[in-house]
Amino acid sequence: MRTFTSRPAADHQRSAADSAPPRSSAGGPGLGRALGNDAARRLWESAAAGGETLAGAQGDAEGVLPMGAEVPADFVGPLKSGDTRAVPHDFAGAPPVGAIRSAAFIPTMSVVTPGRPVDDCGGYEYKVRWGIPASESASAGWIVQKVDQSFEAKDCDERRVAPRAFDDSANYPYWEAWEFTAGQHVWVGPASSGSAHSGDTFSNAGYGPGTKGKKTMTAEVKAIVGFTLPVGMTVRGAEPAWALPYTRTEPAQFAGTLRGAAHTLTAEWNCCPSGTVTKRTTVVANP
């Protein structure tokens, strides 16, 4: 059984990590462990396939060494084959013996618009801004966020309400990214846009009277030094990521690096019986 312990972190990182859900302490449903196993498999497949992740690729291709995921340097327990102990890129000092310095670190997260309802029946908005800590002011790369969600809504007769595209689990997870350049500059999408980052927004309109339900957005964000956009991760100028490079395929550099910080929102409402508001939209966000 594997356990996680708290890891050393710079102040800015601790503040972001503190807002993440507690890590599993007994090898339970810890995201880090699950990510590690999945990532190791995907990276193996990716390497075997020559770069792009291909479902069904075999891991025993000749001459391909198994690749794994990074786990926190203070991870307690044996590592799986291919896993590597690592410290965040902004770790102060030399990595402990047996650990490497990851390309990933946690960006600072400032709440611009606290999670709040915009209507009685499921509408919400929430905005946070990423930042690069001073210790990484010379670094360049991308802030990458994995976005996932769950959604359930019913009418007052307990019949399922069809989700809009933004609430349809078939459209998740996805990955989106903001480039950062030396000098702590963060951009909307690629730096070449010349558009300075303002904030990452989760916003949605409600479902109206006669509905009730719950929406949860679960995101994981990290900054990756030297990240390169994989083929197919492009700006679409459309929902949901708009000006950001977007992909439905997990980038290998995201899967293979230390876990990021949690960024979540839950909205619940009950506008039943129709014409009444039993429970106005409530929003809980983290951070």
Partner: protein, 142 residues
Amino acid sequence: MELLPQRHRHEADDSGGQPVSPTDPATPPPHYAVITFTAGQSVITTQGPLSPKTFHHQFLDRYELGGERHHPGPASILHGALLATDGTTVVSVPIVTWPAPDGTTRFLCQATDDGTPPALSVLASSESALLADLAARLRPSA
């Protein structure tokens, strides 16, 4: 004298389930025009038809946001506007420019970044690229 009737946004779509004739002057089909503001005068640089579906999606419907849209900064300059109409409602979307880090100019056609319509958002590295992208985004089959 009768005052102008109050107009309703969806009035032009009420055609009894039948396609609206593009030749009916009383209910002209949706269309758009891009106007460039130049010194002393404005010029229509391109125009074209829209489908009712595209008009609603790009100009009337709210949009959902799980990432980020552009935010023109103080260095941005108003360059022109896109006007779109379905015969009842007129929507305008500003076109602004700003200098990119590489010294070239970025052209953005976008009005909001908060989920309120219009949803249309196109960023390009030249005016011709912007017009081409707009035409592709707004063509009736889109």
